[in-house]
């Protein structure tokens, strides 16, 4: 379906590269924004650079890069400073003071841009949403080593390189000041200095990216890939690496999706920048579902497996008790389901598994433990009855709650714990109800 023939490499290649570079440069810094719980400050700065951009347009009457960079960086830093001030003086929380600063600056920037649009070749829409397709056109290109490279690629390439250098060179400093600002400061790495260095580069990145992904969507590039990477690993280096890869994947799939997906619904192709941001969101959802540490799916599977294991053990224990007491209870499936209050599907699969492992066999009056099943059951029942002893003598648990508590604990008792239990209760031979405690097999 993804025929390559409709991709014009001279154009699509540059677009994807621009997307990749802006994703990479943003993701590199974004890790530290996410870890410092300052994602919103990244958002604020990338919006607030707008008046800086506009001022540079108005003053220099061109889209030349240097005045733009300087203006935007200055305003970006001011955002960080103002936010601190308002928080300090106004006694409002950080979120509110950021909201005040960046919406005011952003609005100011909008007004200025609309004004500027009359004088300068500048489209407000492009500034806000990016026009990666236009920016990557060869009409505005520089010659780099004999190659004609679109200007936006050169700029983004330089910023990616600067950010990479920054993260590599100051890795240790960024790590310590993000984890424990006071330790950083007392170790001779002033946390405020690293904070403002980081914010300066965020501003630079926002400016460099505004032509490609736009002033608004750069936030997605700053925050979402690192947040997704955070779901997948608990090592910082790996998190940074993953965030970069996720950014790249989002850029490429974003462009392909922008070209193809609207076609499925009979529309023309859509904006690449928007689709890139959508892709980061999709990847985040995947990471949140599948992540090994925080993943929703993994947690669900673990819980299911645990409850199945507990049910398996309960079945074995139940069959053992029936054989011990003589058959006053039914040991067929319906009987087990009644006694253990088990769901039909879970019970069916547990019984099938136990038969397959050879721990139980099916007889005409119901299920019966095999020799290996008896061994398992004895260990389990031994744990259960030792726990009852322990709970009565050591923990002072009342007789009426004894069984329920031991029923839970028996599933989490390995051989070592069982030995210690036996020692602490001075190796009793019967449980508090007078039933025999099976001896240890070892």
């Amino acid at each position: 379906m993804f025929g390559i023939d409709w991709l014009a490499w001279e154009l699509d290649g540059w677009i994807m590269l621009a997307g990749i570079l802006s994703a990479v440069s943003a993701a590199l810094l974004g890790n530290f924004l996410v870890l410092r719980k300052m994602s919103m400050l990244g958002d604020a700065i990338s919006h607030a650079v707008l008046p800086g951009l506009a001022a540079a347009f108005l003053i220099s009457e061109s889209r030349s890069s240097w005045p733009m960079f300087l203006g935007a960086v200055a305003v970006g830093l001011l955002t960080a400073v103002f936010t601190e001030w308002i928080r300090g003086f106004g006694k409002v929380d950080e979120g509110a003071s950021m909201g005040v600063v960046f919406t005011s600056l952003f609005a100011l920037g909008l007004v200025m841009i609309v004004q500027a649009a009359d004088h300068v070749d500048l489209d407000p829409d492009c500034v806000l949403y990016g026009a990666i397709e236009v920016a990557a056109l060869p009409y505005d290109s520089w010659s780099v080593g004999g190659w004609e490279v679109p200007r936006v690629i050169v700029v983004l390439g330089c910023v990616s390189l600067i950010n990479l250098l920054f993260v590599c060179l100051f890795f240790k400093e960024l790590k310590i000041s993000s984890f424990d600002a006071s330790l950083a400061t007392t170790s001779g790495f002033p946390a405020w200095l690293l904070h403002y260095l980081l914010m300066m580069l965020v501003a630079v990145t926002a400016v460099a990216s505004f032509e490609s992904v736009g002033n608004i969507l750069v936030v997605a590039m700053l925050v979402v890939p690192p947040a997704a990477a955070y779901m997948l690993t608990d090592r910082l280096v790996l998190m940074i690496g993953l965030s970069v890869v996720i950014g790249m994947v989002a850029a490429v799939t974003g462009h392909l999706a922008a070209l193809t997906v609207p076609g499925w619904f009979g529309y023309r192709s859509t904006t690449t920048a928007g689709m890139m941001a959508v892709m980061t969101g999709l990847i985040f959802i995947l990471a949140a579902m599948l992540g090994p540490r925080h993943g929703v799916l993994i947690k669900f599977v673990r819980r299911r497996l645990l409850s199945l294991r507990i049910l398996t053990e309960d079945v074995i224990g139940f069959l053992y008790r029936i054989e011990e007491r003589g058959a006053e209870l039914k040991s067929d499936r319906a009987g087990i389901a009644d006694a253990l209050i088990a769901g039909p599907l879970a019970l069916r699969s547990v019984l099938a598994w136990l038969r397959w492992r050879g721990h139980i066999r099916s007889e005409k009056q119901g299920y019966e433990l095999t020799a290996t099943g008896v061994v398992l059951a004895r260990a389990l029942v031994r744990s259960h009855r030792l726990w009852e002893h322990y709970l009565i003598s050591e923990a002072g648990v009342g007789a009426e709650r004894l069984h329920a508590k031991a029923e839970r604990l028996e599933h989490f008792t390995d051989r070592d714990l069982q030995e210690r239990l036996s020692d602490e209760t001075s190796s009793p031979e019967t449980d508090p109800h007078g039933r025999p405690i099976p001896p240890s097999d070892h």
């Binding site: 240790k172 993000s178 424990d180 006071s182 330790l183 001779g188 608990d234 910082l236």
Partner: protein, 267 residues
């Protein structure tokens, strides 16, 4: 304010590891510490005790210049903190950091060496070795590669302690190292502190449990916005002084502060 002699009155110990004179700290113009003057003795375990909001954490943060001071003079081994920063180790409150941060216990301990390593230079094998040894000393050798949120509260606290150990400072400032740890960990921690003391370190500990003050510390500072009393535990940690520190209703100082704040708001 240029020389020690000019600001520290005669008779004050100049070689004290930590000498605080006339320190006042305020948050939003509300004084938190008022005229604090103490010369901490060298090579002792020192407990800083006082009710919530007495300014205990503020005191050690002011020493390390983490917060601005309104007035006063602080000397660390006779010099301003800046000049002797390396000789001071800090153990912050456990809740002050994000334990979900993607680092393992060894990483956290290694951070104690970053100051010695210096700007932009990488962490080397010998640094990690040093950190691993410190983890072993606090009994966490086999948890070195565990992500820090998967450590128990007591293990997290011991990780912090290991980090302080690798700093190899002469004066340690610890903010509630015994908060919310089990009895066994508390015992392990106090043994380490005692060992540090035996090696000539001065250890200043913010402490909450009045029951154990007499057992753990040599010297005690009773703090409630101002220094109520300070001295050897045997003579200073008395019922009368405790009564003054924790006792009853607002102190006159607090009442004056309240009045100041109300005046400011109505203006």
């Amino acid at each position: 304010m240029s020389s020690v002699a000019a600001t520290v009155p005669a008779g004050r110990a100049v070689d004290s590891p930590l000498s605080i004179y006339d320190l006042t700290v305020a948050y939003h113009r509300k004084p938190v510490l008022w005229d604090v003057s103490v010369d901490f003795p060298k090579g002792q375990l020192i407990g800083v005790v006082g009710p919530n909001g007495a300014g205990k954490s503020t005191l050690i943060k002011a020493v390390m210049e983490l917060i601005p001071t309104a007035s006063g003079e602080i000397r660390v081994f006779g010099k301003p903190y800046r000049k002797n920063r390396r000789r001071v180790g800090y153990v912050p409150q456990r809740e002050s950091v994000d334990w979900d941060f993607p680092v393992d216990a060894l990483d956290v301990v290694t951070m104690g060496l970053y100051g010695q390593i210096g700007w932009c230079l990488p962490v080397r094998r010998k640094h990690r070795q040093q950190a691993a040894e410190a983890l072993e000393r606090v009994g966490l050798a086999d948890l070195a590669h565990r992500q820090i949120s998967q450590l128990s509260g007591g293990q997290q606290q011991r990780t912090f302690l290991a980090r302080a150990l690798v700093q190899d400072a002469d004066l340690y400032l610890m903010d509630e190292p015994f908060a919310a740890v089990d009895a066994a960990t508390e015992q392990a921690i106090i043994e380490i502190l005692q060992e540090m003391k035996n090696r000539g370190k001065t250890v200043l500990v913010i402490h909450h449990d009045l029951q154990t003050v007499a057992d753990y510390f040599d010297y005690v500072v009773l703090l409630n916005m101002r220094v109520v009393a300070h001295g050897p535990v045997a003579t200073t940690f008395t019922q009368e002084n405790l009564q003054k520190t924790y006792g009853g209703r607002l102190t006159l100082l607090e009442e004056a502060t309240e009045a100041m704040r109300r005046r400011e708001k109505t203006l």
